[in-house]
Amino acid sequence: MSEQEYVPKSKVGKWFNDRLPLLSLASHLTDYPTPKNLNYWWTFGGILTFCLLTQIITGIVLAMHYVAHADLAFASVEHIMRDVNYGWLIRYIHSNGASMFFLAVYIHIFRSLFYGSYKSPREIIWIIGLMIYLLMMAAAFMGYVLPWGQMSFWGATVITNLFSAIPLIGDSITTWLWGAYSVDNPTLTRFFSLHYLIPFLILGLVVLHIWALHVPGNNNPVGIDIKKPSKDTVPFHPYITIKDAFALLLFMIIFAGFVFFAPNVLGHSDNYIQANPMVTPAHIVPEWYLLPFYAILRSVPDKLGGVILMFGAIFILFVLPWLDTSKVRSAVFRPIYRQFFWILVIDVLVLGYVGAMPAEGIYLVLARVGTVYYFLHFIVILPVVGYLEKTEPVPLSISDPVLSGSADYSMAKKDNEKI
């Protein structure tokens, strides 16, 4: 928060700002003191905002040509691809944009896990972020149903059937979700309605996410509290805006690479076959970004148990700030946690891999080991490591290690003691 009260220079500006302090808000956002040591892992917030806006803009345009009806949806998507001016481009940006969105959000989440950004006093930022993530998954799932291909139809069938695992009322809930006795036209039309709604809910949560961020300010790679503004901070504009813009440019190159050179590589060819309720494709897989959770679901030989563990894998993240008992935020100073962090990354990647494979033999064994380890990490390893780990000394300020002539953070404390 800028310490000084902002006063617009022009008379009109002052008149307006007294009535609606938008200019004060703009001034706060430009001057917002940001830790000067933020690395490129911190640029994904801006990248994610870009992704959301891209999805909203391309989505609004696609909705002008798409027809939400079981008999017409598949043909209308082909119509977009073949007849609509630049329709192919807009649809490929939208479909690959979803993947890019998840790629960025996973990096953003693991950044938070590594540098302890979810810890006090930033728990609310973390929880709002998880709510955004849940809505993203709902939006992505419903969006994937809209082209009404085979994967759309059977993906929708499998996911909505998850709710039938609920004891007693499960079947009524599933029928209610469908609006029919199977996934059918009423399901498609309501998914379209909700798919249009959710991005705007996400946008609202993004505002709260940033608002909650601006109360304590950014975490940073050394994970210490800093004074704001001070020699440890720089104004958001132009220092962070230009860095974010550069990172965004690199991200857009990768994005464009997919859109122009491999637009279908992340999708599934079965979705270019129109939905057929009589035939299930031999091998149903969700989109890549949901695979780890799918692997967890399939690793349990019990229907309700599998569903509970799959949702549990996400909901356990909500209590993460209270499961991690360590006082030190950044993994830079946590030699033991740092190793477990990377094991978790590998674990999630393995789960994602086996989620794409048939649920049998070695893949099933791997999925079970991966699932057990995932929960072990959060329920046992994090709390225990927090107590037992001997953390390395943390610098008193961001400038410390640099000004004392050593890039080694662990040296900083010792040098300080001499002074």
Partner: protein
């Protein structure tokens, strides 16, 4: 205590009744918004299907669509019926006699929803460890009576309401 009891007067009564009436009103408004998502009259109208079964040879099956879901109609051979009936109930995760799953006197006809009770995929016929059906999605094995034997599905495949209109016609629903 006396004081607080004294305070429970007309104003509290007005608050309580206002909240109650408000809650009932809110519920009355929300319910139509929720119930509109349940199957509508057009969906319910599709509730019955008649199927001609005269062309089905023993050992073969056909699949028809009923309420948007596939229904398997299998004409079983004597051998298959015996195999389905030789299983003891203790071996079954969801114990049901084969006799309970067919109409008596029409033992060769197995009519059931071709929907895996795990997550709703359509199982493949003549596949799996029990020569009945096998669900390719998550690996559930069903026997010749459509009963779950192995895998994540919790129940046997459902038997819909159906009747024999005449010797060659089955009405489902």
């Amino acid at each position: 205590m006396d004081k607080s009891e004294k305070k429970t007067t007309r104003r509290d009564f007005l608050f309580t009744t206002s909240y109650t009436v408000g809650a009932v009103g809110l519920g009355a408004v929300i319910w139509p918004l929720i119930d509109q998502m349940n199957p509508d009259k057009a969906q319910k109208a599709l509730a019955t299907t008649e199927v001609d079964i005269s062309q089905i040879e023993p050992g073969k099956s056909i699949t028809v669509l009923w309420r948007g879901k596939p229904v398997f109609l299998k004409r079983r051979t004597q051998e298959e019926i015996l195999q389905a009936r030789s299983v003891s109930l203790e071996e079954l995760p969801h114990p049901e006699k084969d006799e309970e799953r067919v109409k008596s006197g029409k033992d060769e006809w197995l009519v059931m929803l071709g929907v895996c009770t795990h997550l709703g995929c359509v199982p493949l016929s003549n596949k799996g460890d029990y020569k009945g059906w096998f669900c390719p999605c998550h690996g559930s094995h069903y026997d010749l009576s459509g009963r779950i034997r192995k895998g994540p599905a919790p129940k046997n495949m459902e038997i819909p309401k159906y009747e024999f209109v005449d010797a060659n016609t089955i009405k489902i629903g």
